[in-house]
Symmetry: C2
């Protein structure tokens, strides 16, 4: 009986044409980043709050064979990013570009295909996903994104940048909701940090990724 319902769930959707979608507004999960040039590896945890336009990432990584840790809280609505150094309870406070991009497949993206990862032959063996391609918001290059058909949960994103070649972000262990809401507020020891603008441009997600080394 359950098998039958499962099969119907899986088979029923195959008849539906996939549409661009938005991911749930609250997500907690993990990600890994690897690059074609093999100069950057990252394993990290993230919290994503599209309602408050806040993102926290806590990363372990290696860049050019040197390891690093990185912990940042991006508050897009306030135009502020806190780089957090827990070990000595200090913070860098920097201006952040305010254009928050929710996790979504843009309306003008093209469907590359709908496939099942794993198998549809048994329960728990497969995952129906859609892969989309299109131009990055700033026309800086192409993206290739895979999300689940049910729930629009991110699975893989690939973007092309000059410094890294293709950069692949794998998302996993995602849950809908915010696991620790406190992590989306600046820690106490950050409150008296002064805004430092060392550059003319405010930071964005990629400049933070590139400049932290």
């Amino acid at each position: 009986m359950i098998l039958l319902i499962l099969s119907c769930l899986l088979a029923g959707c195959l008849a539906q044409k996939p549409h661009p979608c938005s991911s749930p507004p609250l997500l907690t999960g993990a990600l890994s980043i690897s690059t074609q040039k093999e100069n950057l590896w990252i394993y990290g945890k993230y919290l994503y709050d599209a309602l408050g336009e806040r993102v926290r990432v806590m990363e372990l990584g290696t860049y050019e064979n040197k390891s690093f840790t990185y912990d940042a809280l991006m508050l897009y609505r306030e135009g502020t990013v806190y780089e957090i150094y827990k070990h000595n309870r200090t913070c860098n406070k920097k201006p952040l570009k305010r254009d928050f991009h929710p996790m979504e497949i843009p309306k003008d993206a093209s469907l590359l295909g709908q496939v099942i990862l794993g198998s549809s032959s048994g329960p728990g063996q497969g995952l129906l996903v859609n892969t989309w391609t299109g131009d990055m918001p700033d026309k800086a290059g192409k993206f290739l994104s895979t999300v689940t058909e049910f729930g629009c949960i991110p699975v893989t994103s690939m973007v092309h940048t000059d410094l890294f070649g293709w950069m692949m972000i794998n998302y996993f262990d995602n849950v809908i909701g915010i696991l620790e809401p406190g992590l989306l507020n600046p820690p106490d020891f950050c409150l008296d940090a002064e805004m430092k603008a060392n550059k003319e441009e405010p930071e964005n997600f990629f400049s933070l990724l590139l400049n932290k080394h």
Copy 2:
């Protein structure tokens, strides 16, 4: 109720330690191959019969920006590979190295981790997978393989080769069983093909991949 059972299925297994596993002996599905050096792209369909030690691949691809098609039936037990050209109903028959490697995670592989692709927050939104690493059978390099926890269905394999750098094989739309058993027998027009051994070494899976251009 179904949600509860689903959650138990997913959560129950999290308590179990993953073990190296063998994929089902009969599989039909699709695969894509891409390489770090971006010189090879392949989309293909495959049939896999570990009982009869037979594999059929039918591929479309580009190598160094030239497109090609490739259709091969590997009969490991007979030590024969048929390269099939349907358009003019001809075949190449070549010797094949007899060491058939079933799709499996070797007993001495190391578990990198168990993760959920997508999300465990709703039914149909997630897939529990295990990622393993180890040495290739011939110690020619490392592999990194991801298979589903339930069913040991292949999801992704990465292997390192000198010519391509990292080569990534993505498997998808897999079903347990053989969809068209006839495709695992040589076509009529192949039966009178003569064995050609142009080289000293019999072919293997990788030499076929490398030499067909």
